[in-house]
Subunit: 247 residues, 2 copies
Amino acid sequence: MVVPALKVDRSSPVPLYFQVAEQLQSAIETGELPTGSRLENEIQLAGQLGLSRPTMRQAIQYLVDQGLLVRKRGVGTEVVANRVRRSVELTSLYDDLTAAGQTPTTSVLELQNTTADDVVAHHLGIEPGTGVVRLKRLRCAQGEPLALLTNFLPAGFVRLTKKDLERAGLYELLKAAGIRLCTASQTIGAKNASNAEAQALQEGRRAALLTMTRVAYDERGVAVEFGHHLYRASRYTFAVSVATTRG
Amino acid sequence: MVVPALKVDRSSPVPLYFQVAEQLQSAIETGELPTGSRLENEIQLAGQLGLSRPTMRQAIQYLVDQGLLVRKRGVGTEVVANRVRRSVELTSLYDDLTAAGQTPTTSVLELQNTTADDVVAHHLGIEPGTGVVRLKRLRCAQGEPLALLTNFLPAGFVRLTKKDLERAGLYELLKAAGIRLCTASQTIGAKNASNAEAQALQEGRRAALLTMTRVAYDERGVAVEFGHHLYRASRYTFAVSVATTRG
DNA sequence: GTCAATAGTTTGTCCTGACATATTGACGTC
DNA sequence: GACGTCAATATGTCAGGACAAACTATTGAC
């Protein structure tokens, strides 16, 4: 039964429950709260922090939703296996490939200001016709194409250049511009490649492609990126580890 | 502003919030609450049902988590696009479709005892040649095929019959046999349909299929199911919501 | 040793109440 | 028409409290 040092800053604009969740998550990632360990009960934790129990519950539930904690009535709250959640985390593919030593390279196929059609507008929470930046890239790893990435960002958020985008991942550039990505909603699907897509990705006609559509939000809940990504199914899978919330 | 007829049964063992969520989901699926429509505010809804506001909020949040509703502070709660979007949680497709009112049916194509080859053995953490149960099913929803499901279970864990499997989901039957699924490791990918697969799923030649391979573990960490599932990409996507660990 | 009953522990559900924050529309001014 | 202000509206956060349900440990009977 480990008790990490937790504290909350009531003058911060960050909600109390989220401050607690962040610290617990930190403790899990650093190993201070190792896999398999049991948290103190929520009443004790709330008391320790001077918070109400529902607020403490909200913090814990947040991490349960992330799959980092599992709760059992009558037993307690346990840290579950610290899994590699590589492709469904809010990270950029560039960063992931770099971390995996796979030497990613990027070709910027398109970088232009345009206006949002209905679909893009819907996802970014803006009016159709509003200015957006459209970015299209081909990402390669180990000398061969891996993914076709199309992204839309609200105009004016960040200044992107082809040179920057070929050197670093999009999220790194957003971060450098002061944009903090906080949450994302993602949909994973599959489709057959169009001829252009098959050619760009060096796959056969109608090859199956893995798709991911993502809307990423900053800490205020403002949509800052809408992405539509195509991956070669022959080279790419998503690994997802989960824990039941109904155990 | 549509107001579906909602009611709660306080004598039911089903939590109030879940009863409400189910009814709202039903209204969404039947079109009574169409995409784009706005719910009454949570205070009014709670009052209408004689519930507390947090309970009403919990019901709504449940559907927000399912991707059926979107909330905006100061504005309200809106119904979003209605499509099969499964979360990447450790639930069975059967349960999810049932909850979504989509009337799943199952055809058991194969149910037999066999021995584990290298791949199956590896995933189940057993020796090659060990006895396993091989289960192959076609799952339909709303009268058309949705997925081809192949599962392997260690022999002796649970006694399955074709009849049982056509009536209920696999996880329900495991649960009824006292097996509690706790965690899972999943890989999501895509492939082109073989001719047999295309025919079974009523898709065209070489149609893109979404794949998921899963190993599910019980609370002791023992692998209790290895599944290889194929879904029609035209009818099926995965939804994943994430938060950054570096916010 | 086995089993059932009971007590203790912890999470799950639900309630009432209050304040904060974001959004939208109305209105007035320039 | 553009802009600013303000009120109304709706969600978001937080608090304190109570009871229920599930799980584990303990105890006593056999």
